[in-house]
Amino acid sequence: MSLILNLILMNKVENMTSPGHLKSKSFFFFVATVLVFLISRPASAVLTIEVNKGVDAGIPIAIVPFGLEGVSDLPHLPADIVESDLNSSGKFDPVSRETFLSQPTDLGSIQYKDWRLLKAEALVVGKIINLGNGQLEVRFRLVDVFRERQLTGQKFVIPENRIRKVSHQISDIIYQQLTGKRGAFDTKIAYITAQGKDPKRKFLLQVADADGFGPRTVLQSNEPILSPAWSPDGNWLAYVSFEKKSSNVYIQNVWSGERQLVSEYPGINSAPAWSPDGRSLALTLSKDGNPDIYVYNVDNNSLRRLTRHTAIDTEPDWAPDGRTIAFTSGRSGAPQIYRIPVAGGNAQRVTFDGKYNAGPSHSPDGKSLVLITDQGNGFRVGIYSQEERSVRELTDTRQDESPTFAPNGEMIIYATQKGGRSILAAVSTDGSVQQTLRFQQGSVREPAWSPFNRKL
């Protein structure tokens, strides 16, 4: 068996350099159901962001294309990415580049009156210097136009292929400086893509930059994959795969591709949710009769039952303090959100608004939950405030799914339907900013926003 495996593997790798020969090789009459990929696999498709609605008054900011020293083939990358990032947050109103009167690249060459004329309050200038050997120096300064002084600035020395990442880091620094909140542009999203139709459907677990650039497949299967969840350190994804013809839970290292089957009891194994310390997974298992919540310890493989009810209990999500778990239960008839202490005890009902509340996910500060709510208007993203004890609809669509917070708590990413297929969208926690992420192909769903992780 392992010999066959290796032969196929070698053949596959060999063929990657000459994809035109793929179909002529006899080994390709065997098509694997499951393929695990490393995250370093190159991008295949790009998605783009459309901002549908912004706040009325964003901060007017001018981002000048960076000066190039010894660099010829780079497009206006940092400026383009920073502008797109800040624009997509809805909190900024970038000044059109066509109106610029000058193109400074450092502090000394700024004519402040040029920027006051354009009503820019903030100005970003920078430079990319070719250091040779594939290394670049990228430096930028964020300037207060009215006070005529630098607010912040930084220098990075990076390999050429990190230019996008550094651009997102610059966006994060500017966002933090001007809004007081940590930026989440230098993060990733994981999501599921379904391509084709039964019985030739393909399911992909993919990871892309938070702006949708550079999607990479980390798992491919002919059977459904669902519920991807990032570990708190951003190095692992837990998910449900049907590759063994029933739902089982796996964890996979996004860097090495190392994978472990963590739960394959009879019945359902699903809805993995990491504890804040990364040592446990809350799971939904039905091995003891019907779906209940269990806590699985990743270190010692121990399993503890948390809920015990004849109704469906599923979709656990840990509070950031690690003390309680919110989950969906059908114990009152239709699904509603409940909360139970991790140490054990009684579950308390949380939501009472509307006829359907499910799929809770905590905000990073633990003060609210995003969920799917049906209050008679279809299935929409809703936000439950612990303080107000009520659910408010955030979207005006009818088929929303899988909302989760960005790690800074500023935006919520979710799946919705548009033009007959599933797409990803994002909405700010107050509903004022909405954007859709357009993918080139397939049905895209179940987004999960990564935690902050410099390595990602």
Binding site: M1, I4, L5, I8, L9, K12, V13, M16, K23, F29, F30, V31, A32, V34, L35, V36, F37, L38, S40, R41, P42, P199, K200, K202, N222, E223, P224, L226, S227, V240, E243, K244, K245, S246, S247, S256, G257, R259, Q260, L261, E264, I268, S270, A271, T284, N290, P291, T314, E315, T328, A334, P335, A358, G359, F379, Q399, E401, S402, Q417, E446
Partner: protein, 185 residues
């Protein structure tokens, strides 16, 4: 051990790598099925193969019962899908009659095994629907077990909303997708 004798089972976990030799073998339990040369095809039909003409007792239930390609034939036995109401796992009267017929057939054909595959419509969350699909499969299994079919011959699987038979966001499609399929092995 269920199924799929007609497929070659190949364990194949490939790590596609660009410029990196860090392949790690994953646990050896991953069953992967080889399928025919039409790239990417998944194995759709679990049912039927391998039991089709094995001298099963037919007619003893009074409801038909000759084994066809996908299971027993007969007025009720030919119906191998039962449908449910929204957010419900309760059998309708019609569904119950179908399930009872299959239960009687199974009770008098002790060598036959089945998979009950539960499904949900696409509304609501995927995980809740996964649980709902299993609940529906269990409703069917409970009736069968009450009529004397050993639980060991029944395997429940839920696909939730992942395997719809009807596309479209309307009640006609939803109604067809809220189902349990009785798959004879």
């Amino acid at each position: 051990m269920r199924n799929v004798l007609s497929y070659v089972v190949v364990l194949f976990l490939s790590v596609a790598i660009v410029g990196c030799g860090g392949r790690k073998a994953v646990d050896g339990d991953v069953n992967v099925e080889a399928v025919d040369g039409t790239a990417g095809a998944s194995t759709g039909g679990l049912a039927g193969d391998g039991v089709s003409s094995s001298g099963l007792d037919d007619g003893s239930t009074g409801l038909g019962g000759a084994m066809g390609a996908n299971g027993p034939e007969g007025e009720l036995l030919s119906k191998r899908v039962v449908y449910f109401d929204y957010n419900s796992s309760l059998l309708t009267l019609e569904s119950e009659a179908i399930v009872q017929a299959h239960a009687q057939f199974l009770a008098s054909n002790s060598g036959v095994q089945i998979i009950l595959e539960g499904h949900a419509d696409e509304r609501g969350t995927r995980e809740y629907n996964l649980a709902l699909g299993e609940d529906r499969a269990k409703s069917v299994a409970n009736v069968m077990e009450a009529l004397g079919v050993s639980g060991g011959r029944i395997q429940n699987v839920s696909y939730g909303e992942e395997r719809p038979v009807a596309l479209g966001y309307d009640e006609a499609a939803f109604a067809l997708n809220r189902r349990v399929e009785i798959l004879y092995q």
